[in-house]
C-alpha cells in the first residue's frame, strides 16, 4: 500500500529535515546548500606559515594556477562524450555472453558517490533532498561543480596523496611531515594548480620537513638516493623502475643501468637533523660539496657528488659512475651539475609532453579511484610492458589532460561527466569479464569514514579539534588515531583491502560512538531529532539520510518500524537503529 505514500511521507520528513538543519548548530558548517557556511576547523582557513611559504614558491614558478574552470563544463562534456565513444569502440564492441552495460545510477547514488569522491564525505540530508527535488537536466554537472569549489575537495585529495606517499615511508619519524603535506596539497588542489607544477615542487623540495609539506617524498625515504628515485618514478609516472635496481627484469624493457641513471639525479639530496625552536626535526638540503664522504650509517644525512651503480660482483667497490639520464626520453645532464640543477632538470623532463607516463599516471589514478578500476592495475604500475584495459581511451584522456595544462579539476569534471562514471555499481569483475561495464563499489578510506561518522552522529568538528592550536605540528588528533585502525595504502589493489577485527570492534564498541548514539544525555543529537520529529517514519528517513545519504527502501522502513514496535522505548529503538546504520556494510563503501 505504501509505495507512493512512503515517498510522500519521506518528503514530509524532508521538509522538516531541512528545517532541522538550520537549527542544529553541529550541522551548520556543512555543504554548499546549508545556511551556516562557516568553514570547519580542519578546512583550509587554518593555514598559516607553511602555506604562506608554499604560496611564495608557487608564485615564483613561471606559470600561474590553471585558470579556474576557464575551459568550462562544455569542454568537459565533449571530452567525456568522446571517452564514452572510445570505450564503446575498444571495450564494449564485443561483449561476452550475458554481459550488459549497467544502467545509469539513481540520483541518490550519484550524489553520494560524487560527494564521497570529491569532498570525502556524504552529502547532507538537505543536499540530498534539494538534489532529488531539482528537476533541471544539468543538476549532476552542477552538483559536481559545487563540490569541486569547496575547500573540502582539496583536503580530501590532499589526504589521499599524503597516504600515497607516507604509506611507503622508510621511517615513522617522517610522519612529522604529513600535516604540512596535507596543507600544502589542499591549498594547491583548491587553487587548482596544475599537476605538473605540484609534482615539480615535490621533486625540487628543500627545507624543514615539518614546515615544507612538499619535502614529503624525500623525507619519507630519509633522503636515501635509490628509494627517493623509486618513489618519484612510482608516484609521478607510475613506472616501477626500481624492480631493475638489482637486476634486469626479464619482462621489463628498463635496464638496471637506467634505474641508476635516474638515481643520478638525486645523489646530492641529504636529510639532516635540524632544530626548529625547541622542536627536533629534519631538513632536506642540497649537499653540493665536492669531497665525497663515506656514509657512516645507512642513512641519507650526507649527499654524494655523483651516483655510482654498485658492482654486484664486488659490493664493497665504488661501482660504476652514472651520468644523470632520463630513461623515458634518453635526455642527459652533465656530470658535476648541482643538486637543484639536477632535480629541476628532471622535473622539466618528467613533466614535459615527451614523457607520456606523467599524464597517464595521474589520469589512471583518478580514473581508478572514480571508477573502482584503473586502466592499469595496480594503479601505480604502468609501462609499455603492462596490460592496459583501454589503451586508446587512456591515450586520449591523458592527451586532453596534458592539453588542459594538467588541470586537475577539469579532469574530475570530465570523468564524472562520462556515462561510464554515472553507471550503477556492480561487484568487482573477474578477469574474464569486460571492464567498465559498471562502476564499482570502493571501500572508503579512513578519512572518508571518519568524516561520515562525525556527520552521522552529529559530532561537531570543533569538539574534535584536529590540531592542537598550541602546536601546529601535532599529529595525534582523533582523525589520526582513527586512521591507525582504518587506514590503508591507497596504492594497494583495492580488492585486497578488507575489514579488520579492530575496525569492527571500534565501530561496535567504541565508548565515544556509543555515547553519541544515546538518545538521552549529553550526546544530544539523536535526542534532538526525536524531539523535533514525532513521527517514527520521518525520523527513520532522517537517520537514513544522515548515515547513508539515501531514503530507506520500503522493506527497510518496515524492518525499522517493526523494530521500533518491539522495543520498550522509542529512544532505545532509535539508538539501535543508528548503531546498526553506522555498523552496516554500506556505511563503509562508496556506492
Amino acid at each position: 500500500m505504501r509505495c507512493v505514500s512512503s515517498w510522500c511521507r519521506g518528503l514530509g520528513a524532508i521538509v522538516l529535515v531541512v528545517g532541522l538543519e538550520n537549527v542544529a548548530p553541529a550541522q551548520s558548517d556543512r555543504g554548499p546548500t546549508s545556511a551556516g557556511g562557516a568553514s570547519s576547523s580542519d578546512a583550509a582557513a587554518d593555514l598559516k606559515a607553511p602555506a604562506a611559504v608554499a604560496e611564495e614558491r608557487a608564485g615564483s614558478l613561471d606559470r600561474p594556477a590553471v585558470a579556474a574552470s576557464a575551459a568550462g563544463a562544455g569542454d568537459a562534456a565533449e571530452v567525456a562524450a568522446r571517452v564514452d565513444e572510445l570505450l564503446g569502440e575498444e571495450v564494449f564492441a564485443q561483449l561476452g555472453p550475458g554481459e550488459t552495460l549497467a544502467p545509469r545510477a539513481s540520483d541518490e547514488v550519484f550524489l553520494r558517490r560524487a560527494a564521497l569522491d570529491l569532498i570525502g564525505e556524504n552529502p547532507t540530508p538537505a543536499e540530498v533532498i534539494a538534489f532529488l527535488l531539482d528537476e533541471t537536466v544539468d543538476k549532476r554537472a552542477r552538483a559536481s561543480e559545487q563540490f569541486l569549489a569547496e575547500p573540502r575537495f582539496g583536503h580530501n585529495w590532499a589526504r589521499y596523496w599524503r597516504d600515497v606517499i607516507f604509506y611507503r615511508r622508510a621511517d615513522d619519524r617522517s610522519l612529522i611531515t604529513a600535516p604540512a603535506t596535507e596543507e600544502f596539497l589542499a591549498e594547491k588542489f583548491n587553487q587548482n594548480i596544475g599537476w605538473d607544477l605540484i609534482a615539480r615542487e615535490f621533486i625540487v623540495a628543500t627545507g624543514n620537513i615539518r614546515e615544507n609539506g612538499q619535502t614529503a617524498v624525500i623525507a619519507a625515504q630519509d633522503g636515501m638516493t635509490e628509494d627517493v628515485t623509486a618513489e618519484i618514478s612510482r608516484i609521478f609516472m607510475g613506472v616501477q623502475i626500481q624492480c631493475a635496481q638489482c637486476h634486469d627484469h626479464p619482462t621489463d624493457r628498463w635496464k638496471r643501468e637506467q634505474f641508476h641513471e635516474l638515481a643520478a639525479f638525486f645523489p646530492r639530496v641529504a636529510v639532516r637533523p635540524e632544530r626548529l625552536g625547541d622542536i627536533r626535526t629534519f631538513a632536506v638540503v642540497s649537499d653540493d660539496r665536492l669531497f665525497p664522504r663515506r656514509r657512516m650509517k645507512n642513512d641519507g644525512r650526507f649527499g654524494q657528488p655523483e651516483h655510482y651503480m654498485p658492482d654486484l660482483n664486488d659490493p664493497e667497490s665504488r661501482g660504476k659512475l652514472m651520468t644523470p639520464t632520463f630513461f623515458v626520453t634518453g635526455q642527459q645532464l652533465r656530470l658535476g651539475a648541482t643538486d637543484l640543477e639536477r632535480r629541476g632538470t628532471l622535473a622539466d623532463w618528467m613533466t614535459s609532453r615527451q614523457n607520456p607516463w606523467f599524464a597517464k599516471a595521474f589520469v589512471n589514478r583518478v580514473w581508478g579511484e572514480l571508477m573502482g578500476e584503473g586502466f592499469y592495475e595496480p594503479l601505480d604500475d604502468l609501462g609499455p610492458d603492462r596490460p592496459c584495459s583501454a589503451p586508446r581511451t587512456l591515450e586520449y584522456l591523458a592527451g586532453q589532460f596534458e592539453a588542459h595544462q594538467y588541470d586537475i579539476k577539469w579532469l574530475y569534471r570530465t570523468v564524472m561527466s562520462t556515462q561510464a562514471y554515472q553507471r550503477e555499481s556492480r561487484p568487482r569483475r573477474t578477469p574474464e569479464q569486460t571492464p567498465f561495464l559498471a562502476n564499482c563499489s570502493q571501500r572508503l578510506r579512513s578519512d572518508q569514514i571518519f568524516s561520515c561518522l562525525m556527520n552521522a552522529l552529529g559530532i561537531p568538528r570543533e569538539m574534535l579539534g584536529g590540531r592542537d592550536p598550541g602546536n601546529r605540528f601535532r599529529n595525534n588528533g582523533p582523525r589520526f588515531l582513527f586512521s591507525r585502525v582504518f587506514g590503508y595504502d591507497p596504492s594497494d589493489p583495492r580488492q585486497e583491502v578488507t575489514g579488520t577485527i579492530p575496525q569492527a570492534l571500534l565501530l561496535m564498541n567504541s565508548p565515544i560512538i556509543n555515547r553519541m548514539v544515546q538518545a538521552r544525555g549529553r550526546g544530544g543529537e539523536l535526542g534532538r531529532l526525536l524531539a523535533a520529529e514525532p513521527e517514527n517514519e520521518g525520523a527513520v528517513v532522517e537517520l537514513y539520510l544522515r548515515c547513508l545519504a539515501r531514503r530507506p527502501s520500503q522493506a527497510e522502513l518496515e524492518v525499522c518500524l517493526e523494530h521500533i514496535r518491539t522495543c520498550s522505548s522509542r529512544g532505545e529503538a532509535f539508538e539501535d537503529l543508528l548503531w546498526s546504520l553506522v555498523n552496516r556494510t554500506e556505511f563503509l563503501y562508496r556506492p
Binding site: D222, M296, I501, P502, N509, T585, E586
Partner: protein
C-alpha cells in the same frame, strides 16, 4: 582477454573464515607454479598448526648493551664496571645483572655474534622485525604477521599476533600480507585492549546485530559479496568479544603467587600475559621493554633495565617449562642492535650493530650453549657471525616455517619471507 590481463584471481577463505579475494600473479604460468608451491606449503602448515607452535618475542627497544647482559668483558677496559657471574651451565658466564637468567642458562642459546650494518634505530628496528631493510617498493611484513599467517589456528578466537606495550615504531605490521595480519595492540598488560567491552547488555548487542542482518537482507543491491564478507567479520569480532578466551587478557584470573613470581613491573605483566595468550592459542606475542638507548649513564640505566628484565624473563621460561609449553613455544630476546665497546665521556654507550647479542630458548632450540664469540674488547665478531637473515631463518626453522616461501608484493612480485642467510644449525635441537 584474460590472457592479456594476465591476472589470476581466486577466492579464498582467510583465517577468519571470511571469503576474500587474493590474487595477482602477473601471468598464468607463474600462477600455476606458485599455486603448486602454495598447496604444498598449505599441507605443511596444517601439520604445524596441529603441533600448536607459538613464539614470544621479547623486544628490547633502543638497543640493549651486550656488555651489561650476555657478553660481559670484566677483564677489559671496554667492559666497564660490569662483572660476570657463573650460570647453570659450566663455562658460560653472563653479566651480574642477570642472576635469575643465569640460573636458567641451560634453556638458553646465547648468540654473541650478531652482526648487521644498520646503526640507526629506525632502519635497524625494521630489519630486526622483518629480516629486510626498509625499501619504498615492498612492504615487508613483521615476524609476527608471518608467523600468524603460517601458524595461526582457525580455532583461536583471539587475534593471533598481539603486541603488548605502548610503542613499536618502525616495527612493520602485516605489510604485503594485508592489514588483516596487523598486530592486535594491547598498550598495557593487565588492562583490556580497546573496544572489546560491550557498551550494552549482551541481549541488546545481539538484537542490534540481528537488526543489521535484517536491514541488509532488506536492501536490494549488487553488493552481496561485500555484505557477506562484512557479516563474517562482524560474526568473528562479536565471537571474540563474547568468547571465554577473552579472559586471557585478564591477569586478575592468575593467583597472586603466580603474579608475584613474575614480578611487579609492567614488563612482568607483559610476560605473564604472553604466557596466557599462548595458552589460549595465540601464535605470536611481542612484549616490549623500552629505553635501552643508553647514550649516557649506561651502567646505572642498564642495571635498572636488567632488573625489570631478569625476573620476568626467567620466570616466563620456568613457567612455560612447568606447564609443558616450552617445547612448543619459542622465546626470542633481541633489540635492534648492541652498544659500543667504547664508553663515551657521559658514561654511555652508543649504537653498535657490528657485534651484539640475541637469545633463543624453547621450542626447537638446543639450550645451554653460547654461539659465536666477540674479540676480547667486544669490537668484532671473531667466530661465527650471525646476520639478521641468519637469525630469522633460525627462528623460522625452529617454528617449522619455510623461510623461502614467497608472498606476492602489491605489484605481483614474489618476495621470500627471508632473502639470503642460512640457518644457524647448532642453535637447533
Amino acid at each position: 582477454m584474460s590472457l592479456q590481463l594476465a591476472h589470476h584471481v581466486h577466492a579464498a577463505v582467510n583465517r577468519w573464515g571470511v571469503i576474500g579475494r587474493r590474487h595477482f600473479l602477473r601471468n598464468l604460468a607463474a600462477g600455476a607454479a606458485s599455486l603448486g608451491l602454495v598447496d604444498r606449503l598449505a599441507l605443511q602448515a596444517d601439520e604445524l598448526r596441529r603441533q600448536g607452535k607459538a613464539c614470544i618475542l621479547l623486544w628490547m627497544q633502543g638497543g640493549p648493551s651486550q656488555f651489561e647482559t650476555w657478553d660481559p668483558k670484566p677483564g677489559h677496559g671496554n667492559g666497564g664496571e660490569t662483572k660476570a657471574i657463573d650460570t647453570s651451565v659450566p663455562g658460560i658466564q653472563v653479566a651480574e645483572n642477570l642472576p635469575r637468567l643465569a640460573a636458567v642458562a641451560h634453556e638458553l642459546a646465547i648468540i654473541r655474534s650478531m652482526s648487521t650494518r644498520e646503526g640507526n634505530h629506525q632502519r635497524a628496528s625494521f630489519l630486526m622485525h622483518t629480516a629486510h631493510v626498509p625499501v619504498a617498493s615492498v612492504q615487508y611484513p613483521a615476524m609476527g604477521s608471518v608467523v600468524w599467517k603460517e601458524l595461526g589456528s582457525p580455532d583461536c578466537q583471539l587475534p593471533s599476533f598481539v603486541r603488548v606495550g605502548r610503542r613499536f615504531p618502525n616495527s612493520s605490521d602485516g605489510g604485503l600480507l594485508g592489514t588483516d595480519y596487523n598486530a592486535f595492540l594491547v598498550p598495557q598488560a593487565g588492562r583490556l585492549p580497546e573496544n572489546v567491552q560491550l557498551t550494552t547488555d549482551q541481549a541488546r548487542f545481539q538484537r542490534r546485530l540481528a537488526l543489521i542482518d535484517r536491514l541488509e537482507a532488506a536492501t536490494t543491491g549488487a553488493e552481496a559479496e561485500l555484505v557477506a564478507s562484512h557479516r563474517g567479520l562482524y560474526r568473528k569480532a562479536s565471537q571474540m568479544v563474547l568468547s571465554p578466551q577473552m579472559k586471557a587478557f585478564d591477569l586478575g584470573q592468575e593467583p597472586d603467587a603466580v603474579r608475584q613470581r613474575y614480578g611487579e613491573s609492567e614488563f612482568a605483566a607483559g610476560c605473564l600475559l604472553a604466557r596466557r595468550l599462548v595458552e589460549a592459542g595465540v601464535v605470536f606475542v611481542e612484549v616490549g621493554l623500552g629505553n635501552w638507548d643508553t647514550h649516557d649513564n649506561n651502567f646505572e640505566r642498564s642495571r635498572d633495565l636488567t632488573a625489570q628484565l631478569d625476573q620476568p624473563f626467567a620466570c616466563l621460561l620456568q613457567d612455560l617449562r612447568e606447564r609443558g609449553l616450552l617445547d612448543r613455544t619459542l622465546v626470542v630476546w633481541m633489540g635492534e642492535f648492541g652498544r659500543t665497546p667504547r664508553i663515551n665521556p657521559r658514561a654511555g654507550r652508543d649504537h653498535y650493530p657490528r657485534a651484539f647479542s640475541a637469545v633463543l630458548a624453547g621450542s626447537g632450540i638446543r639450550g645451554g650453549q653460547v654461539i659465536g664469540r666477540t674479540s676480547a674488547g667486544g669490537e668484532d665478531v671473531v667466530d661465527r657471525p650471525v646476520s639478521a637473515q641468519d637469525l630469522f631463518r633460525t627462528v623460522y626453522a625452529a617454528l617449522g616455517i619455510d623461510a623461502d616461501k614467497e608472498n606476492m608484493s602489491s605489484i605481483g612480485r614474489p618476495i621470500k619471507i627471508v632473502e639470503g642467510g642460512a640457518v644457524v644449525q647448532e642453535a637447533l635441537a
